[in-house]
Amino acid sequence: MAAILRGNRETIPVKERIKRVYYHPWVEFGIRWVLGVSFMFASYHKIVDPESFARAIYSYDLFPEFTINIMAAILPYLELISGLALILGAYYRGAAALIGWMLIAFIISVSINLIRGHEFDCGCFSVGKSSLEEFVELYLLRDAMLWCFALYVLFFSGKRKWCIQKIG
């Protein structure tokens, strides 16, 4: 048995192995859940305390004042609903696309403030912490990774596990 496995392993090219992992239903499931749970978790404190989140958006110093409250009110629910859609496996492509856009917006906003050396409150997973207290570069790295996850879920063409919606 071991010999067969070893033999198989030797005959399967690396490219094929990567392809197998990429198209594995459980890999897609894991990544979809990681993304979904992250966004649901991230939305929690913003829903509980929208005022602080509005303040965090304000501190980015990028958006016109009249848009801040509406963003602070809607974005947390967009995160929650998108995260839930990914976990349930319903409208997951739409959810992945929305999450992808949100992450791009966030990466651009953080980068602009990083370049101009502006102190701001990230407001990602908790509000009320200044960016100087933590590593902003880590936020960017984490979000770049989540963005790759979102693209993977969006463009995945194999079989998906545990999805309410069976198309796609």
């Binding site: 303040r55 501190s59 409208y91």
Partner: protein, 188 residues
């Protein structure tokens, strides 16, 4: 023969193109549905929640603010000074005590002229001395390091609970004051 080959490849290309646009339309439709659900959820929960915020208007409207009536003071609402020039006029009147809610270091570096330091983080140890020096009837304006900082509001709440009646929050804080080159003191 050549014609039919061309025709087939065109057909495949056309089908692929149609498939791409169909998928794109599907993704857009799903995104729009999720966005719609989120907006409805936000509207409903924001309306129901006691922590809900005003949808439109500048962000400062969401902060605890309102007319300086006894009822609002009881609810913990403050009058906010949103305009730096207004803060300057209040400063010029000379009847108001400016209270700096920032840390001791920030205060030492620079503060509004004649402002008193009462760091929010050291409120419990500093309040007794403060009470001995300033009666409850003192008109107070608290400030910190700008609109994104909440210490001036938190300090306002604590002062209100301590017994002070007339509290206003200057939300522009020291950065806005310093930018206008209004009277300041400090090492910087």
């Amino acid at each position: 023969m050549r014609r039919s080959f061309l025709f087939t490849s065109d057909l495949i290309r056309e089908q692929r193109k149609r498939g791409f646009f169909q998928r794109l339309a599907g993704i857009l439709k799903e995104s729009a549905t999720l966005l719609g659900i989120s907006i409805i959820a936000a509207l409903v929960f924001n309306f129901v929640s006691p922590k809900g915020i005003a949808f439109f208007g500048p962000s400062r409207k969401i902060f605890l603010s309102g007319p300086n009536t006894p009822e609002n003071r009881e609810k913990g609402f403050f009058v906010e000074i949103t305009d730096v020039e207004m803060a300057k006029r209040i400063f010029d009147s000379g009847t108001v005590l400016f209270v700096d809610a920032r840390s001791d270091d920030a205060y030492r570096e620079g503060h509004i002229k004649d402002a008193v330091s009462l760091p929010y983080g050291r409120f419990s140890e500093a309040i007794e001395g403060f009470k001995n020096r300033y009666p409850f009837t003192t008109s107070i304006v608290t400030y910190c390091s700008g609109i994104s900082c909440r210490d001036s509001h938190e300090l306002g709440k604590l002062l209100l609970m301590a017994g002070y009646e007339n509290i206003r929050i200057f939300i522009g804080g020291y950065p806005a004051w310093e930018q206008r080159d209004y009277p300041s003191e400090g090492t910087n």
